[in-house]
């Protein structure tokens, strides 16, 4: 039983990071009907921003996390302004948009590999590595931090989307961007806000993955989990992304513990295929009227 | 038995009832008009019949078979064809190739045949090409055959869409606002063109149009939709004198001048 509770705790921790990551991805998808394939690269930027803040400038962990979020948000906005927005203005097809996003991803990722070097580094925080003993359950500080901050961010995001004017504008845009624009909403401001938020989540998640696993330029691949989580919950739905992320985190941890660590990712992928076969609209499916 | 019978059709999107218990009957070779203010549900009716949206209630009987909820491509293969409000041609294909797709929606020979290139396959391709040219000539745009569909002038694009639609040899053709964006001369040309097309091919046609003169001129039977409900049904004279119809249209016009 103890092992199960332990795995549950770890699963919820990793699940909350997946949830955050999935929300960042789903936010853009639901508003722009577009998969930001550069999401992984952004995540990587966040990790390295925190890494260098701590190792080069000696900024404390919390400060480094904030810096990571800010830098990633800026990068996200830049990508939107320089690549995505011009493509949307040209009414480019879905295929072209995907290729552009992939181009951004390839560019940023390989730029990092060539400039920083492809070696794998450990996250420079001894504080985060320390394990806290709760009696029945033991968790490294990084896992606790990840869970707490991710869940807090999700609550803040929920408040923002449902209780603020800009949030209302964003939700309206999720339904119909053109009409929202015609009704007087500042669509440009909304798109920048959305990409900034997406950047925050990417940067934050990046830091947590860096803490939990390692820091390396190709770590953007973890963002595939975001896609999978979003699909499990129901693509385009934010509550779905949260649920999908937590479910994915739990599945992965349980598979790691009870079946095999090596084939963990294989199971995640198999889950994706099964959901696509039997529940293509995700767990929340069509019953979710409100896309957000 | 009618060619097409739509019974009690209801289409709902979330909380919005786009169509409520709509009935429609089309006989072989009939030319029917479908009019109504914006948002009345006309295109939704087309979408329901052609399989784009699934109705929650009602039946669509085409050639004695219920096609409600069937896959759109299967519905099309059974003899239903349509054009779109926003023209949906294949822009990077040549004009004649657009029509060729209408002729061969299913490949007529296998992959091996295609690669080896036996006379059988070459002949089929030649036949298809020549048939496509015939349709282009029928709609009067043969001279554009090698142009790319995306580069055509608007009026020609509309005709190409119709050529592609009739190339499928349909029993019934749904035209969605073919006169949209046309001036008076072009609209007159269109009236003549559609009249001749109907006479030459004998296809049943259901026409959505806002240019009422087109509908009144060509259609023996007109159906009026308003807010998802069938408002009136009858001959052009009956419709023009129907007080409900007048109210629906003039009522709308009055609102426009306020804005």
């Amino acid at each position: 039983m103890n092992i199960f509770l332990q795995q549950l705790a770890t699963g919820l921790s990793i699940g909350s990071v997946y949830a955050l990551l999935a929300v960042g991805y789903a936010l853009i998808y639901s508003i722009f009907d577009f998969t930001n394939f550069a999401f992984g690269a952004l995540m990587m930027i966040g990790t390295y921003a925190a890494f260098y803040s701590i190792s080069l400038v000696n900024i404390p962990l919390l400060g480094a996390i904030i810096i990571a979020m800010l830098i990633t948000a800026i990068a996200s906005i830049l990508v939107e302004l320089l690549a995505y927005r011009p493509m949307r203005a040209k009414k480019a097809s879905r295929l072209y948009l995907m290729i552009t996003a992939m181009g951004v991803n390839i560019f940023i990722q390989n730029l990092a590999i060539q400039t920083i070097g492809g070696s794998v580094k450990a996250f420079p925080s001894d504080w985060a590595k320390q394990v806290v003993d709760f009696g029945i359950v033991k968790m490294p500080r990084s896992d606790i931090l990840a869970a707490v901050i991710s869940l807090t961010m999700l609550v803040i995001l929920w408040h923002f989307l449902y209780k603020s004017r800009l949030g209302l504008g964003i939700r309206a845009s999720a339904y119909d961007t053109r009409t929202a624009g015609l009704m007087g909403l500042n669509v440009n401001l909304i798109s920048l806000t959305v990409f900034a938020i997406s950047g925050f989540t990417a940067g934050l998640s990046g830091v947590f993955f860096g803490m939990k696993y390692a820091v390396y330029p190709a770590m953007g691949g973890i963002s595939n989990k975001a896609f999978i989580a979003a699909v499990i919950g129901g693509l385009g739905s934010l509550p779905g992304a949260v649920i999908g992320g937590i479910v994915l985190g739990l599945i992965e941890t349980m598979v790691s513990a009870y079946i095999s660590t090596t084939f963990r990712d294989l199971f995640s992928y198999a889950t994706l295929v099964l959901i696509l076969l039997f529940l293509p609209n995700g767990l929340l499916g069509k019953s979710v009227q409100d896309k957000l | 038995m009618s060619l097409l019978e739509v019974e009690n059709l209801t289409v709902q999107f979330g909380g919005l009832k786009a169509l409520t218990k709509v009935n429609l009957k089309v006989d072989e070779g009939e030319f029917i008009g479908l009019i109504g203010p914006n948002g009345a549900g006309k295109t939704t009716l087309f979408n329901a019949i052609t399989g784009v949206v699934k109705p929650c209630e009602g039946d669509i009987i085409f050639r004695q078979k219920n096609i409600k909820g069937m896959r759109p491509d299967k519905i099309a293969l059974s003899g239903v064809s349509r054009t779109f409000q926003n023209i949906r041609l294949f822009p990077k294909m040549k004009v004649f190739e657009n029509v060729e797709i209408g002729i061969n929606r299913v490949a007529q020979y296998g992959i091996i045949d295609a690669v080896i290139g036996l006379p059988k396959q070459r002949n089929k391709d030649k036949e298809t090409y020549e048939e496509a040219l015939k349709y282009l000539e029928q709609v009067g745009i043969l001279e554009y055959k090698d142009a790319y569909a995306g580069e055509l002038p608007y009026g020609i694009q509309r005709r190409l869409e119709i050529a592609r639609a009739i190339a499928t040899k349909p029993k019934i053709l749904f035209l969605d606002e073919p006169a949209a964006g046309m001036n008076n001369d072009e609209t007159n040309d269109l009236i003549n063109f559609l009249g001749k097309l109907h006479k030459d091919t004998g296809i049943a046609i259901v026409l959505i149009e806002h240019h009422l003169e087109v509908v009144m001129e060509l259609c023996k039977n007109i159906m009026v939709l308003n807010l998802g409900n069938m408002l009136a049904h009858g001959s052009p004279v009956e419709i023009q004198n129907n007080p409900d119809v007048i109210k629906a249209y003039i009522g709308e016009r009055r609102q426009k001048t306020n804005v």
Binding site: Y29, S93, Y96, F227, V273, L276 | V52, S81, A114, V115
Partner: protein, 296 residues
């Protein structure tokens, strides 16, 4: 001379794979980042069949291609049907390639896991690879210029209209996927019998990205465009040794630039044509005869 020979063989191998992407992405408009997975399956299956079971390499390559093709249904069937947007397919393909890599890295009997498979007989010489390449390009050309190709284009251009005309969109998409997976499987087999050693990591995202780049740069809707692009992209890293390591950075940037400023790529949906060249030569001859006449 042996050096140039190697590059030509590499070009042939790459062109075979790119033909698959031409059919899938260039003509049908489906976006995949995981076709390296099919190359991996083709490579391992053919290498194992020949090395351990003595099956002639051509046959084992075909079997490899067929198995790669069949495996594409795992991804293809759930994601290409119904109203699912292309994003599902793209995401699923990424996961597929990664899963294959993971799977093969952990199977030790025959596959030798992460250590890689070595001692594969060298069967790809210049003649063999060129012949395979020419056959594949011919096949691709004939296929895409037939009704099948036109149906694919119609889906790429206007999927909704195509379906409403009566095209079975799901079936045609699956067809394109199956063929593209087969061709990538063959390409993988060619790699196995050329390099004689490979690991699951040989078939990385980089391979998929390179093939996509060739189609994007060469022109979607063209065959000669991506083929020429492949030839250039294969030769370039060898020619520009100094810049070679920045290759992928440049590809990424170039992809964005091409999408923004010239989405049709090098040749768009046209093919390279000798016709204008022939016309110019004819004109030259006419001018010559006029000058000759005047001279008299």
């Amino acid at each position: 001379m042996g050096y140039a020979r190697g590059i030509l063989i590499l070009m042939s191998i790459n062109i075979v794979g790119v033909c698959g992407i031409i059919i899938l992405t260039g003509y049908t408009g489906l976006f995949s980042l995981g076709h390296a997975g099919f190359m991996s399956i083709g490579a391992y299956v053919s290498a194992i069949l020949t090395k351990y079971f003595g099956i002639p390499f051509l046959i084992s390559m075909i079997i490899g291609g067929l198995i790669a093709s069949l495996s594409s249904l795992i991804v293809g069937y759930p994601t290409l049907r119904g109203k699912l947007k292309g994003d599902y397919f793209a995401i699923a393909m990424m996961g597929f390639a990664e899963s294959i890599r993971l799977l093969f890295s952990n199977i030790y009997p025959y596959f030798n896991g992460a250590l890689g498979l070595s001692g594969i007989p060298l069967k790809m010489n210049l003649t063999t690879s060129l012949i395979i390449c020419i056959i594949v390009v011919f096949f691709t050309y004939r296929y895409l210029h037939s009704q099948h190709g036109k149906l694919s284009i119609s889906i790429r251009e206007q999927e909704v209209a195509a379906e409403l005309i009566g095209v079975n969109v799901t079936k045609e998409k699956l067809k394109s996927l199956l063929i593209s997976a087969f061709l990538c499987g063959i390409s993988g087999g060619m790699m196995a019998f050329y390099y004689t050693y490979m690991t699951p990591n040989t078939f990385s995202a980089e391979l998929s990205n390179n093939m996509l780049a060739a189609v994007v740069f060469g022109g979607m809707g063209s065959i000669s465009g991506p083929v020429i692009a492949t030839i250039i992209l294969t030769a370039l890293p060898e020619v520009l040794r100094a810049v070679a390591r920045w290759r992928l950075v440049i590809y990424g940037l170039l992809m964005i630039v091409v999408m923004l400023f010239r989405p049709e790529g090098l040749l768009g949906n046209k093919e390279i044509s000798l016709y204008p060249l022939i016309q110019r030569l004819k004109k030259g001859k006419r001018v010559e005869s006029v000058i000759a006449k005047e001279g008299k």
